[in-house]
């Protein structure tokens, strides 16, 4: 344990509950957070108390909002300012499970069970060996879902390309290996690409892996 500024572990412990509940004002709040940043013991205490406080919110009473709430909420989104710009491609996490690539893949497969799937294929590394799977999914919006269960070392940036029935390849997105710690990556695609015959992962002109849809 260590002390940071004017706050030590004993003082942190006194205020940790109020800090986790979001009830402390400045400057004490910042001083305690600065201490937690440097002290693993106090950071762990704060994390666990925060988790309790957050999860207890699930016990809140469920109350029907006033009539017309849904319409008002959706109108607010229509009128609101634009979302923050997304990355060059609409990269999003379907799920991320700490503890391993295989777990992540299984988790996502379970989560998406029941959604109409257009096609599924095994991803095979250029050097041989299965490295994961790819799915073309039509609902709720057309997207491609890549699950890497056996990651291979290589360049940081990976481009995902789909092959149309006429043989042409279309880049649909990219990811940085460092970002995809969960092993799961997905991107929205044009509906016409749901008929793709193959997928490949390319980096600097080299084909790292391929998958052929049945």
């Amino acid at each position: 344990m260590s002390a940071q500024g004017s706050v030590g572990c004993e003082q942190f412990d006194v205020h940790a509950d109020e800090l986790a509940l979001g009830q402390l004002d400045e400057p004490l709040r910042s001083a305690l957070l600065a201490h937690a940043a440097d002290c693993p013991h106090c950071r762990s205490l704060l994390d666990s108390l925060g988790t309790v406080a957050d999860r207890l919110l699930l016990a809140a009473p469920r109350v029907e909002p006033p009539a017309g709430f849904e319409t008002r909420a959706l109108s607010r989104l229509d009128m609101g300012a634009a979302r923050p710009p997304r990355r060059s491609i609409s990269l999003w996490w379907v799920a991320a499970v700490a503890g391993g690539m295989v777990l992540a893949g299984a988790f996502v497969a379970a989560r998406l069970d029941g959604e109409p799937k257009a096609a599924t294929a095994t991803i095979v590394a250029a050097a041989g060996g299965e490295v994961g799977s790819v799915q073309l999914i039509a609902e709720p919006t057309p997207h491609v879902l890549v699950t890497i269960t056996a990651p291979r070392p290589g360049p940081a940036t990976r481009n995902c390309e789909l092959q149309r029935p006429d043989g042409t390849w279309v880049q649909v997105g990219w990811w940085d290996a460092a970002d995809v710690a969960s092993g799961v990556w997905a991107v929205g695609i044009d509906p016409t690409l749901l008929d793709a015959t193959a997928m490949r992962i390319v980096s600097d002109g080299d084909v790292l892996a391929t998958a052929a849809f049945d």
């Binding site: 999860r55 016990a59 999003w92 709720p140």
Partner: protein, 188 residues
């Protein structure tokens, strides 16, 4: 389309929201509005203010859907945390929110002997945490729930319960720290 969206898990539905699927946003609002509004009105005690805050919550969720991390919390917890933080900010600006004395009893875990159906829902939502919560002395349950679900400070809880501030702090502290152990064993 909507029929398919209704069947999605919470995680998959939020992913669809992140993909800017318009119908998904409507389903998302419909699925969680009772929870979000329920927490907002519990904390604020004002229907109009809670209505507005719940709308802002969904706007925030829509804006930041892409940052949701399933490793840290369930979608419901993530959404309610947004609600709670907004409500705390609102309460700071608008202090002296009147307290409904019936609120405490509404917040307490439901007894399986008195209301088995609601007790089952509580158990499903909170898992081991709910069991531990129900096992706390009632005065600690009240203090913890007033602090978390109603957003009340130790000083306000002392006024509500008619106890010294130090006693209110002790009840919150003791209760939360017993619940820590349960959380460590419960997945998000």
């Amino acid at each position: 389309m909507m029929r398919h969206l209704d069947r999605l898990s919470d995680d998959a539905l939020l992913a669809a929201v992140a993909l800017e699927e318009r119908d998904a946003v409507a389903v998302f609002v419909r699925r969680f509005q009772r929870r979000v509004y329920g927490l907002a009105v519990t904390m604020l005690g004002d229907a109009a203010l809670a209505d507005d805050l719940a709308q802002v919550t969904f706007e925030r969720a829509w804006r930041h859907a892409g940052t949701y991390d399933a490793r840290r919390a369930s979608v419901a917890t993530w959404l309610l945390t947004i609600t709670r933080n907004l409500a705390i900010d609102a309460m700071r600006v608008r202090r002296a929110i009147p307290f409904d004395p019936d609120l405490v009893s509404q917040l307490l875990p439901h007894s399986s002997a008195v209301d088995p159906q609601q007790a089952a829902i509580d158990a499903d939502q909170l898992g081991r945490l709910g069991v531990e919560l129900a096992g706390l002395p009632v005065e600690q349950q009240r203090a913890v729930l007033l602090a978390t679900l109603a957003g009340r400070t130790a000083s306000e809880i002392a006024d509500i319960e008619g106890i010294p501030v130090g006693t209110a702090k002790t009840r919150i502290r003791t209760g939360l720290r017993r619940l820590r152990i349960a959380v460590a064993e419960v997945a998000p």
